[in-house]
């Protein structure tokens, strides 16, 4: 379970958030550009630092301003799929997926076995030798997801995972993504612009404006105009 209770002063507003995401639950964050969605993911991942508060994962504090705890990103065990996918362009698809395991100094045979499994499941085995920069948008998304999942994260963060794909690919990848997230069974936070995704939480200027279904959020947006 992920518990968040943090505050951070940003340039235009103060981010104040209190959220819980249970095991196997997916929280979708929707909001205008600059409302603090990506900042929240970066704060959870340890790429940015809250001013005060607490972030805990399965009871273990990742950040606690009172206790002076601030784990670096590499010690948090969080899988993060970036908006641009952030694949390493000088590495092959295989090496991208193996990167996290090599960072953990895992034996090469174990790495090979695991990478093979993940690449086959994601339908990427045939292109394992291709440079990450040379594969299609949909394949990049799968590589990024496989790379984040292979480290067996305790939490999954996805920042606009479908926005770099064309509309036709988005529909197919949306259901594929849903299946993969469901299968891995960890808490997941997805940042999206797309109300076709199931919405449960809407952020506005650093605060949770509402929780609910997509239709409710759409109606709420209309009421504000």
């Amino acid at each position: 379970m992920l518990e968040i209770d943090i505050e951070k002063s940003l340039r235009d507003f103060d981010l104040q958030l209190r959220l819980d995401v249970n095991q196997g639950q997916t929280l979708m964050l929707v909001g205008d550009n600059g409302c603090g969605k990506t900042t929240l993911l970066n704060l959870i991942a340890g790429l940015d630092r809250p001013d005060r508060g607490r972030i805990a994962l399965d009871g273990r504090p990742l950040f606690d301003s009172d206790l002076g705890i601030d784990l670096p990103p590499e010690a948090r065990g969080i899988g993060y799929v970036f908006q641009s996918y952030a694949l390493f362009p000088h590495m092959s698809v295989y090496d991208n997926v193996a990167f996290g395991l090599r960072a953990r100094k895992m034996p090469e045979e174990d790495i090979d076995r695991r990478v093979k499994k993940h690449l086959k499941e994601a339908g990427l085995w045939e292109i394992r030798r291709a440079k990450a920069a040379d594969v299609s948008g949909g394949q990049k998304q799968r590589v990024a997801l496989a790379r984040a999942l292979i480290i067996e994260p305790k939490l999954l963060l996805l920042d606009e995972p479908l926005c770099a794909l064309d509309v036709r690919r988005q529909a197919a990848m949306r259901s594929e993504l849903r299946e993969t997230i469901r299968a891995c069974g960890v808490p997941c936070i997805i940042v999206t612009h797309d109300l076709r995704d199931v919405v449960s939480c809407l952020l506005e200027r650093g605060r949770v404006a509402m929780r609910g279904r997509a239709e409710d959020v759409a109606v709420w947006g209309g009421d504000q105009e």
């Binding site: 991942a45 948090r76 970036f82 694949l87 362009p89 960072a103 990450a132 920069a133 480290i151």
Partner: protein
Amino acid sequence: MVLFGEGGLTELANQENETIGIAVASRSRLREIALKAGLGLLLALAMAFIALPVLALFLRSPLPSIAEALHDPVVIDALRLSLMTSSITTLIVVIMGTPIAYVSARFSYPGKELADSLIDLPVIMPPAVAGIALLMAFGRMGLAGHYVSSFGISIAFTTLAVILAQVFVSSPFYIRQARTSFEDVDIALENAARTLGASRTRTFFYVILPIAMNGLLSGAIMAFARSLGEFGATIMFAGNFQGRTQTMPLAIYTAMQGDLDVALCISIILVAFSFAVIVLVKVLTRRVYKRC
């Protein structure tokens, strides 16, 4: 008197418009031709201005005399010293300059603007001024040299002085290029590596460095070439002693006062080397990784 109907007037107007259109089109074509000819002439003049002195160097020194000069002890000493000092200088500049360039590209700290300006200063500082400044700092009576000489170590007018002068003038060439290369590496790649479990050091060596490598290599080559051609700061701070501080440019200067042929031959070797460096830099900088 000829009377035109409405249709005739329109036709006449159309013909007039067509004539005006043709005139405008031919005028604009003429302007375009003149512009192209002007630019071509400018390019040819610029090429000639650069190529003529280089060509003159080659025409004035026949091949046998170049081969002969390569056996001259002055040339051999100068070539050996130049290659040795420039290689050591490049190594020092890369080892010290890489972390500086990375910090400058990625972090903000108080006085960053001042530090960056200080790093760039030797580029615009006249080399002779750089030589005097080094002498005032590391000479026997200099600010730092005073302390060093109390341990019986002398820096000025030694091979070490040649290296220090080269490091001083060539380091900005590497650091500026390296800084740009690091800035070009998408910060998301660094963040991705960290969330995947890589430490800062591992991220630097496995992700950032390989992506920035082409830029770093071309920066190192530029620094090497600048060291090879260094003259002003070296002659002021290290002097001009054969085998000890007399690098290729200093040997050219010395030879000019006696044997012009030797000066020409050393110059040709330097030109050939510089040209090879430029080609290498162009080839290396062409290979850039596509962003994912």
